[in-house]
């Protein structure tokens, strides 16, 4: 079974005075098919945690293991391939490429390995269908609403069957109704794909819809209803 394991993860940023500690010995694990939401105030280190798990940043201490692999031991080329194969991202900004249609945007991750295969094209169509965007397949981003663009971004995150989907404030730029739809879609598609999903958000409504919810406070991860500074599983 695929498993994400985060152990004693700490992150400090150097400053002229003293190092700024953003994360303190964060630890948790997640199995395939499970999802987790992380909430916390601005600047608490949510995005930093997500970026480290997504291998976009490196920890000062501690380990991350996904599918039995410590990504930080990989050389840059292997790391890129690892990220491409195992992880899907959804950001607050959709970052769709304006020159491409919806389906082409979904297929962009495939280009990291060469050209998109027919199976991948079929899968992109399926994902868009599941996102309710069959009619929008050939539309470009500026021809779509904000919610539709974010749904395309969700489909793009899943195109290569990642074992882990990381969502960084995925509904931050959306109105409440649309945000709800995106949240539903994210969880639904994660369940369908049996992937792990970690979502950091300000939205308690969204966070509560996840199987597991945690809160990050002053760099420490705790259960959402806990106030103690304990690590939690």
């Amino acid at each position: 079974m695929t498993k994400l394991s985060v152990e004693k993860l700490s992150k400090e940023f150097p400053t002229p005075a003293e190092p700024l500690r953003v994360l303190t010995e964060v630890a948790f694990s997640l199995n395939s098919g499970e999802n987790l939401s992380i909430v916390g105030p601005s600047g608490c280190g949510k995005s930093t945690l997500l970026h480290i798990i997504g291998t976009l940043d490196t920890p000062t201490a501690g380990t991350v293991e996904l599918d039995g692999i410590n990504p930080f031991a990989l050389v840059p080329k292997e790391l890129a391939a690892f990220r491409n194969e195992k992880i899907g991202f959804v950001f607050q900004e959709h970052y769709l490429l304006p020159q491409l249609s919806a389906i082409e945007n979904v297929l962009v991750p495939c280009l990291a390995r060469g050209r998109a295969t027919s199976e991948q094209v079929d899968r992109a169509k399926l994902l868009l269908k599941n996102a309710g965007l069959t009619e929008r397949e050939n539309h470009r981003p500026h021809e779509m609403s904000g919610g539709e663009r974010q749904r395309v971004a969700v489909a793009r995150a899943l195109i290569l069957n990642p074992v882990l989907v990381l969502a960084d404030e995925p509904t931050g730029n959306l109105d409440q109704d649309t945000a709800e739809q995106i949240g539903t879609l994210l969880i639904q598609m994660q369940k369908n794909e049996s992937a792990m999903l970690i979502c950091v958000t300000h939205s308690n409504e969204l966070a509560q819809r996840f199987d597991n919810a945690k809160r990050l406070d002053h760099g420490k991860l705790m259960d959402s209803n806990s106030t103690a500074t304990a690590t939690g599983k």
Partner: protein, 1166 residues
């Protein structure tokens, strides 16, 4: 804290990006400064060459005939000289000479040799160069390096002395083309001259009267030896054998030539003697016992006939002097069937107006003869008796026309009514030159042999059989010889002056002497009057003081302003550098956009923000300009290296050297700073349109997500342009010359535009893509389509640059039949040829055989002058003049002959339209119609339109106003003014014979030597120089072709610089999309893959631009190349584009590499 401090700190803090911009500024400044330095270098080199060519010679006194060597000392003794001048050295200068080494088949001949007869003082004129003074004794010669090379002489070996011969031009005193002038033996050969030194082509070693970057062929002989040769052949009439034809004068300041005022003062103080002007004054007295029959002063010229300006000066100085025109009649006879008397051969007839001073007594009435009217004649009593002529008889006078045609005397006649008979008294014994003629009865006024001027070989002959005339003298009998012995040149008939001048005046003059009444004056008084008159005459009368150094330095400003030329040629590089500056600055602005946003957000006004940026950029530009000036010197050095090597065709010889002018460096630096600053300020100014929010987020553009769409309209435009391109190309095939190249270029331009519009259409066209299995290439293409305007502009710039670079090849010129009019050879001779070389009798005489029927020689007269073709970078003020012979003009009346190509002409009549050379024969007041090759007119003479008028003052004293009646296109006749023979002989009466020829010579005769060989063998003594007209034309055209190559290479350099700009554009484009690219990294694109993606984008732009440019250029050049069989610089262009591609790829790779290293997180967080 103040604005300057912010700007200074920003300048230091962002040193990397500022340095990049400064390098862009440096590139622009370098090119600007470099071009100015090239101009400085050209002018400086030409000036240096002038100073070198003339050594210490500042002025030269030249004369049309020989004068006393002593005149130099007289000049040196004048006050005007002693105040400002240093040396006055007499010499003989013979520019149209030739030199020979060896003989027979081994003979090597060098033509266009200038021979200087000089003594030791001559070499003092080169004092500043410390030239070792060569000592030249009799039968020794010194030559310069260029002449040595032409003769194949490497060095001198004392053990193996080298001897050469020289052929000097002899100028007949009596003009060659007058009936009595000599047409043969006009050169003297001096052989077995031992070469004692070979001097370098510097200083006096390259002394020449004409500014040219090419060293002349010079030879130096002892003055005494030359004087000896000339005295035996040409100056024997002079009282003093030490004659020269030039005085070289140096001033006290060798670096700065004397001012025009100083020169004028010296010119005024020069007082040649009457003998120097070839004037002869003698008292003519005839007495009988105590009675004076006549006693007057005769003023005549040793040239037999006085030039009209000289006659006018004398006439105005001596108003009562009677002009006399005496001519030689071949025969005189009575027109009557009943009169069977023998015609009187070879008689002098004097044209003079009878008046109170001169009225010979009538043999009929015994009274003074009344003035003769036109068409009337008075015979002397001896002649009347021999002809048995009666008053009222018609007398036929047969004579040679005063000017020869094709070297032949042409006989013509007039019939005049005999109105009286002048009595002459026979002398007691034969006339003697030394003794007064004794008479037994009083002689008459008609008994005056001095009415005939001195003609060497004629008037000094003791008897008729000693006459030395250039023609046969048939029909002379004993009684004629007796007349000669008794009366010598006493005229046998008189006509009035009007009749004489009507028939016997010529371009050489219309007066043979003046009969000056004594009026109580002695000879010295008359001499003084005449001497003052000729010395102070406004007209130079043959003596010219030429301010040669001042003229040379003025001409050093050059035909072509090389700074402007190289600025134009470097325009691609300059524009590319400015675009690069703009791009680099925008890139820097992009990276620092949030700073502007912050400043704006805190309430700093746009003006103040612009000020802060401008201050910082002043520092950046100044840094760039300083770097640029240094680089500019290097760029100029590179250009000069180019001109000395690859582009030497543009300047003929590698004479140019680097000359730095501080003003150019300053102008370059300031201009570079200002231009770059303007570019930068404009970019800052444009940010005012940006919202503070977008600036704060680091964005400079408006919404980049809005992809523009294009419709079918652009497709229609593309198709229309394509059709237009094809139509223009079709039209071009029907045209010729530059209009053909222009039409092809226009076609190519439309082809280029059509392709760019098509690309625009493809970028903007929204297509439903059903095949999504595409790779990075398509992905990159889609990325480019995101901002079609920028992409198409980028492609367009690369395409336009490469199009121009290649297509300009269509303007390369190759020799064509319209440039040579189908003639194979262009020949010049040092000695004039008078005969018609197409005449079979002349051919028999000259070559021993008749030439082939197909051989043709069209002769032209030549007035030597400056080469005004584009081969000579000096500004030409006195170009060479060609007098197009009647034969030449008439030749082009024929329909079936190859014609020259005319760029434009003022033809009105059908004949002029059919043969524009006929325009030369028109008369328009004092202006002389002239045809010029367009290149010569435009670039050297700065004459741009038909109908333009311009004045030329020649050093030989003539002045003329020319009016352009036509321009030739790229012809072999470049570098000359072409006027009709009629105008030529009037303007240059002294330039005799033909020295310039267009020829077709048949060389297919197997039975004997070919016509070409015959010419080479038989005319070598004339200094014949035969040039293949095709090669000559190719030489002219190579200048234009070289400039095109220069333009192409500098264009390629600009494009190369443009590839850096392209990379910068791509970097900027990537920065705008850095979040998307960071996302791709997040999705698992490794650095290489992302780099490849960016690289493909850049390559698509670069290759797309190059490909479109090349296709459009091929559309222009291929048909042009196929039609004109031009040699196309495939290799050069291939090399240039390979270099551009390589540099472009490397730059794109470096840029992609940089981009791929962008931090993902910061991009995503932004």
């Amino acid at each position: 804290m103040n604005l300057t401090k912010i700007a200074t700190q920003s300048f230091i803090h962002f040193w990397r990006s500022n340095l990049t911009i400064a390098l862009g500024v440096a590139a622009a400044t370098a090119v600007l400064t470099g071009a100015l330095i090239v101009g400085d270098s050209m002018r400086g080199s030409l000036k240096q060459l002038t100073l070198d060519r003339l050594a210490d010679v500042d002025e030269v006194l030249l004369a049309q005939s020989y004068f006393r060597e002593q005149l130099a000392a007289e000049i040196a003794a004048t006050e005007a000289f002693q105040k400002n001048y240093d040396l006055a050295v007499p010499a003989i200068m013979l520019p149209n000479s030739s030199a020979e080494l060896g003989d027979g088949d081994d003979k090597v001949q060098a033509v266009a040799v200038s021979i200087f007869g000089c003594h030791e003082d001559f070499w003092k004129l080169d004092a500043t160069r410390h030239l070792e003074t060569p000592k030249i004794d009799e039968d020794e010669i010194v030559i310069n390096r260029t002449l040595a090379d032409s003769l194949g002489i490497g060095s001198i070996d004392e053990n193996k002395p080298i001897e050469i011969g020289v052929r000097l031009p002899l100028q007949g005193r009596v003009p060659s083309e007058s009936a009595l002038g000599k047409k043969e033996e006009l050169a003297e050969f001096i052989g077995e001259l031992k070469v004692v030194a070979i001097i370098d082509d510097h200083g006096l070693g390259r002394l020449s009267m004409h500014p040219s970057q090419l060293p002349p062929r010079n030879a130096y002989l002892s003055l005494a030896q030359l004087q000896e040769v000339l005295y035996a052949n040409q100056t024997e009439n002079k009282s003093d054998s030490q004659q020269v034809n030039a005085v070289f004068i140096s001033s006290k300041n060798s670096q700065n030539p004397p001012t025009p005022e100083i020169s004028a003062s010296l010119a005024k103080s020069i007082k040649p003697s009457l003998g120097d002007f070839d004037l002869r004054i003698q008292q003519v007295t005839q007495k009988f016992e105590n009675e004076t029959i006549f006693d007057y002063f005769s003023v005549s010229s040793d040239q037999m006939i006085m030039s009209d300006p000289m006659a006018e000066v004398i006439q105005s100085a001596l108003p009562k002097a009677q002009p006399v025109m005496t001519y030689l009649a071949n025969r005189m006879s009575v027109v009557s069937e009943n009169n069977k008397r023998r015609p009187i051969p070879f008689s002098m007839i004097t044209a003079i107006d009878f008046n109170d001073d001169f009225a010979p007594v009538s043999a009929v009435s015994g009274k003074p003869i009344q003035p003769i009217r036109e068409n009337e004649i008075v015979l002397n009593s001896w002649t009347a008796e021999k002809l048995d002529a009666k008053i009222g008889d018609e007398i036929e006078v047969i004579y040679f026309e005063p000017e020869t045609t094709d070297g032949d005397e042409v006989e013509t006649s007039i019939k005049l009514k005999l109105v009286d008979i002048a009595k002459i008294e026979p002398p007691k014994e034969e006339i003697s030159d030394d003794q007064p003629t004794p008479f037994s009865a009083p002689p008459t006024l008609a008994n005056d042999p001095f009415l005939t001027p001195y003609v060497p070989g004629l008037t000094d002959a003791e008897s008729v059989d000693q006459w030395d005339l250039p023609f046969e003298t048939p029909g002379i009998e004993k009684e004629d010889d007796l007349y000669w012995k008794s009366y010598r040149t006493t005229p046998k008939a008189f006509v009035c002056l009007a009749t004489g001048r009507k028939h016997w005046a010529s371009r050489f003059g219309s007066t043979t002497s003046f009969r000056v009444p004594k009026e109580g004056r002695d000879e010295s008084t008359i001499r003084k009057i005449v001497s003052n008159a000729v010395s102070n005459a406004e007209h130079s009368l043959g003596f010219e003081l030429i301010a040669i150094k001042r003229q040379g330095l003025k001409a050093s400003s050059g035909t072509t302003p090389f700074d402007v030329l190289f600025l134009s040629l470097s325009m691609f590089v300059i524009v590319a550098a400015l675009i690069l500056v703009s791009i680099l600055f925008r890139l820097s602005l992009q990276q620092r956009a949030n700073q502007i946003g912050i400043l704006a957000a805190v309430g700093i006004s746009d003006g103040l923000i612009t000020k802060i940026w401008t201050l910082e950029m002043v520092l950046v530009s100044a840094l760039g300009a300083v770097l640029g000036v240094a680089l500019g010197v290097g760029y100029a050095a590179l250009m000069i290296l180019g001109l000395r090597t690859w582009w030497v065709g543009a300047i003929s010889t590698p004479f140019i050297e680097l000359h730095l002018g501080w003003l150019s460096l300053l102008i370059g630096a300031v201009a570079g700073t200002i231009v770059c600053l303007m570019t930068i300020t404009f970019s800052v100014w444009r940010t005012r349109k940006q919202s503070i929010r977008s600036l704060l987020s680091g964005k400079l553009e408006t919404d980049p997500t809005a992809v523009r769409q294009t419709g079918n309209r652009s497709k229609i435009i593309a198709i229309a342009m394509f059709i237009l391109a094809v139509v223009l190309a079709g039209v071009a095939t029907q045209l010729g010359g530059e209009s053909q190249a222009g039409a092809f270029l226009g076609g190519g331009f439309f082809m280029l535009a059509a392709m760019l519009v098509w690309v625009w259409n493809q970028f903007g066209h929204k297509k439903t893509n059903t095949n999504h299995q595409h790779g990075l290439n398509k992905f990159a293409m889609q990325a480019l389509a995101r901002n079609p305007l920028r992409s198409v502009l980028t492609i367009g710039l690369v395409a336009a640059a490469s199009f121009l670079i290649i297509a300009i090849s269509a303007f390369r010129l190759s020799p064509s039949v319209t440039g040579t009019a189908g003639f194979q050879w262009v020949a010049t001779t040092e000695q004039p040829i008078f005969e018609d070389l197409n005449n079979t009798d002349v051919q028999e005489k000259l070559f021993g055989v008749e030439l082939e029927k197909s051989s043709l020689v069209l002769p032209m007269r030549l007035k030597s002058g400056q080469d005004a073709s584009c081969n000579n970078p000096y500004q030409s003020t006195q170009p060479r003049v060609l007098g197009m012979s009647k034969k030449f003009v008439e030749y082009f009346d024929q329909d079936d002959v190859q014609k020259f190509s005319w760029a434009s002409k003022a033809a009105k009549s059908d004949l002029e339209k059919q043969n524009p050379w006929r325009l030369l024969e028109s008369t328009d007041g004092d202006t002389i119609p002239v045809v010029i090759d367009k290149n010569t007119a435009w670039y050297s003479l700065k004459v741009y339109t038909v109908g333009s008028q311009f004045d030329v003052d020649f050093d030989s004293g003539e002045s003329a106003k020319f009016k352009v009646v036509g321009f030739l296109n790229n012809s072999i006749l470049q570098g000359s003014l072409m006027i009709s023979e009629k105008h030529f002989v009037k303007l240059f009466p002294q330039a005799s014979g033909y020295r310039y020829f267009l020829m077709n010579l048949d060389d297919a005769n197997d039975a004997r030597d070919s016509d070409l060989d015959l010419f080479k063998q038989q005319l070598s003594d004339t200094g014949l120089d035969l040039k293949s007209s095709e090669k000559l034309l190719a030489g002219f055209l190579s200048v234009q072709n070289t400039y095109l190559s220069t333009f192409q290479l500098l264009g390629a350099l600009g494009l190369l610089l443009g590839t850096f700009g392209l990379a910068a554009v791509q970097t900027r484009s990537v920065l705008e999309r850095k979040q998307e690219l960071a996302l791709m990294r997040a999705m698992g694109f490794d650095r290489d893959r992302l780099g490849t993606f960016v690289l493909i984008e850049t390559c698509l732009l670069l290759l797309g631009g190059l490909l479109i440019g090349m296709i459009a250029a091929a559309f222009v050049t291929l048909p042009h190349w196929l039609l004109t069989r031009l040699s196309f610089p495939w290799l050069e262009l291939l090399g240039m584009f390979a270099a551009i591609l390589l540099v472009g790829l490397i730059t794109a790779w470096l840029s992609a590499r940089w981009i791929s290293k962008l931090p993902i997180l910061s991009a995503l967080r932004n």
